[in-house]
Symmetry: C2
Subunit: 192 residues, 2 copies
DNA sequence: TCATGATACTCATTAAAGTGAGTAGTCAGA
DNA sequence: TCTGACTACTCACTTTAATGAGTATCATGA
């Protein structure tokens, strides 16, 4: 029961339609989880059935009607319970890391390419998170906002996402450079 | 098809029985994935059926017999193909982050406790990874090992794991301290 | 001697995540 | 006017991951 709580936590920010939620989860701006629209619609339906969220129909003239959801008291209670239960440690689970693990027994060329790509993607996300953080804290400086701001949850998870992506970028760049140097060294030794 | 490749990559280090593999995956020393024994046995069976790994029976006197597995040429080819295919970006997917996202709408007490616990767990893992790295590079210094070592895959993924856990620890400590300060501030305002 | 824990697995099942395809109206630009 | 993109969803399905409960032998220590 994981996506379930991620959806509840995301909905704490206000009212969202499935579609809006889907966009946030898709980009991963909801930097603490990722899911496709279909999964979110399914999860919202389950949550509504369980009374943890409630939706209201919004009739739109020019666009299809939509349903906006918010968390109910029962939903809050569920989150409290979830927060109190002990969490198992999270881990990385990234294809790219698996590829690096294998990189010295298979051709490292494709792995290097992907490390470059990933570094670029991480950089893009770093910028995105930077903007989002600035937007969330508004006029305040960070310390002030963190201490007195009223809704800091998304800010804190965004900080985590930012640090993760920075780490990601640095590691990718370092490993890519290293694998290239090793290719060069291997060629030298071959030639010698 | 994820665990599949993680198992293949882990087996590149030598021969392992399902049980040995399970221990590595369990502690997460195979820092790039996590799985329970049953999953690994199931995966090994599938891989063997597909000819990607091969096992040989080892008869033991004092313990139950075991089967040691190694990656076949077909397995290497599979990994090559996997490495060449583009990887989707990995993300965090951690319950604790979800809890932090919700932490200012629910009681922050339990979340703070878990941040402390997690920070301690991260510290333990940092030490573990540090030892493992020292062991992997042996007498060499890091630069030398990375450039000329023959099997650096596990070292590289371990570096990633180390950085991840350091980040993890720092974030947990920072957020825990912050949430405590906010509790104090809230009490002050209440009293005023 | 009796419980605990390590080695070494298996079987059955559920829960969770992810994929593919499709509907239907609106709007902006070529 | 036709194409493609955006809003807003739904249905059906497959694949992966995770859980729970066993089996059996041997070694260690209280």
């Amino acid at each position: 029961m994981a996506l379930r709580h991620a959806v509840l936590a995301a909905l704490l920010d206000g009212e969202y339609s499935g579609y809006q939620l889907a966009k946030a989860f898709d980009v991963g701006v909801a930097n603490f989880w990722h899911a496709l629209p279909q999964q979110l619609y399914a999860e919202l339906a389950k949550l509504e059935k369980g009374g943890l969220v409630a939706g209201r129909q919004v009739v739109q003239e020019t666009r299809p009607n939509k349903r906006l959801f918010h968390v109910t008291d029962a939903g809050i209670a569920e989150l409290e319970q979830f927060a109190a239960a002990s969490a198992k440690p999270g881990f990385i689970r990234d294809d790219l890391v698996v590829k690096v693990q294998a990189s010295d027994r298979i051709g490292s060329g494709p792995v290097i390419d992907q490390l470059d790509e990933r570094a670029a993607a991480a950089s893009a996300k770093i910028e995105l998170f930077g903007n989002l953080l600035r937007q969330l804290r508004g006029e305040m400086d960070e310390d002030e906002f963190l201490l007195r701001g009223e809704r800091i949850g998304p800010y804190l998870t965004c900080l985590r996402g930012l640090a993760f992506e920075e780490e990601n970028r640095d590691w990718c760049l370092r490993i890519a450079a290293l694998l290239r140097r090793r290719q060069a060294v291997a060629v030298e030794s071959d030639g010698a």
